[in-house]
Subunit: 305 residues, 2 copies
DNA sequence: CGTGCCAGGTGCCAT
DNA sequence: ATGGCACTTGGCACG
């Protein structure tokens, strides 16, 4: 076997060859720098200023087409080289990707086996592991954040193991061949702003209660009941208690059940003479849900976030 | 800018430079299997036979360290080269991965924006798109299978767009810098066999009904009611109707609501003199669920898949 | 295609 | 840690 070609200069070892990555939760403790760069995004690929993850800076003498922006790559490596790249990458808090022919074994809350096939494996520095095939949005196997990744070469195979406790779970990926391995130095401090959630719907209703009904007055959100917290709690123009259950999309019977539990709990908790109305607020309801609403004497108001 | 280095031999063009990937759905069309498996589950599921995806075989003459197992790679490419690799890869039904600094915009069922950061983007030949950061099991942004991917170089940026209809949704990833791009020729015809599902629990109960209760006799599975299909339907040694709702793990109030709806529907549908018992079968229940069970006169049997 | 429901659901936040 | 619930939930099976 020829020495596998390697591109990229690689990072300095974070320690004396850290045996593996420890699960990190803390995220850039003192992240001061403006998370929204106002202007002047760097057009070149050199990262400006501080590399946070990397304990020491990249050897800058290396031309940028060999070690650009913290990427290390191996093509068709032997098992030992692949394992070394993975271990080094994880030790440096890089995001590691492997592609090749492998088998996958999982044991934990359930158990599963997966025969040989070409898959893409991603190992994250926070302990998450993902095994993707060419199909589907969901990984065919995975491990949640908080695991410890370990990679070693065993009898010509590159073996990745991600393990966690409580619950005890283990994922083992055995590569007979690694076609490609890469370690990416990631920095991402942005969180996406999502529009159109249930929280947005709630906000809209609180700003303009008449959207639900003329004369409706919200009194509290997340009001506690023995059956759980009510989305919006208020009263109508006749002084009757009104419970709103909000959904951002078309709902089925489960949401009606939820609302019904809250209404029942409040009817028991409030004075016997208190009338309690339950109102489901959502874009639309299914047939079965509508029937259930009628059966339980509940109401529906169509509203879209 | 120097010509970006490329490793790997590349595939034969699937056509005259296919403009982009068309969403493929077909996957093992005749996936049948009865809803009430009396016995004899298929133990193996390895798909025999041919490579479906690739129209023509790989050029096998290429040395394995340059074009190993269908991998094409670019490190620090300019926008045009990156876009070309992505387009070619998708056209050849490859799994494409991009890593670099990008922004992400989504609009569809909801909407979201994500500022600049280093992310890993995966484009699958079935139309799925995934944007991963260094944290979390879940992608920070995504698009389900069935989309059409499109990649082009615009003003020095590499722009990926994944679009679908019904519902109309679009995901746009704008790379200011692509640190690494790769196209993987995937072949995977295995489906993992998972142990410990609700189906396993059902099988166990049908084989040994006394696990639920001495004298219990299953009569049907998935029996239809106006409120939905009941997991297991049967009768006890006194001839009373028994409805089982099965859960593979500890359950909350939602499962009790489900069972309660089935029991209510059957009480209305059967002769007025018919007694109907509802039994929740699961490893355990939460406190609120237990209270709800008592309130509705339902029962619980602890059982683990 | 909509309806209903399971999932190794995951993630977030409360107690 | 457990609990209750939202999620661009995804995925499958069925009418």
């Amino acid at each position: 076997m020829a020495t596998p070609p390697t591109s990229g200069g690689g990072w300095p070892a974070p320690g004396p060859s850290a045996p593996s990555s420890a699960p990190r939760k803390e995220r850039s403790p003192g992240r001061c720098g403006g998370s929204t760069p106002p202007a002047g995004r760097s057009s070149t690929q050199s990262r400006p200023g501080g590399a946070f993850k990397r304990p020491t800076p990249l050897p800058r003498g290396v031309p940028s087409d060999e070690s650009p922006a913290g990427v290390r790559t191996l093509t068709a490596p032997d098992a030992a080289s692949a394992a070394a790249l993975v271990t080094d990458g994880l030790g440096a808090d890089a995001l590691v990707a492997l592609f090749g022919r492998c088998t996958v074994d999982y044991e934990g809350r359930a158990a599963s086996e997966l025969g040989p096939g070409d898959r893409h494996v991603m190992l994250k520095p926070d302990g998450a592991a993902l095994v993707h095939t060419d199909e589907g949005q969901q990984p065919v196997n995975w491990q949640p954040p908080g695991c410890e990744h370990d990679c070693r070469a065993t009898e010509g195979a590159t073996v990745v193991e991600s393990r966690r406790t409580s619950p005890e779970e283990s994922l083992v990926v055995r590569f007979s061949t690694v076609a490609h391995a890469a370690a990416f130095d990631v920095s991402d401090h942005e969180t996406p702003e999502v529009i159109g959630t249930e929280a947005d719907l709630k906000r809209r209703i609180l700003e303009e209660p008449s959207l639900v009904e003329d004369g409706f007055t919200p009194l509290a959100t997340e009001r506690k009941t023995p059956a759980g917290a009510v989305d919006v709690y208020g009263e109508d123009d006749a002084g009757r208690t009104v419970v709103l259950e909000l959904k951002r999309r078309r709902v089925g019977p489960d949401a009606v059940g939820q609302l019904d539990r809250y209404v029942g709990a409040l009817r028991r908790d409030l004075h016997a003479d208190a009338e309690v109305r339950g109102v489901l607020v959502a874009p639309s309801v299914t047939g079965r849900a509508r029937a259930l609403l009628a059966e339980r004497g509940l109401e529906f108001v169509p509203l879209t976030p």
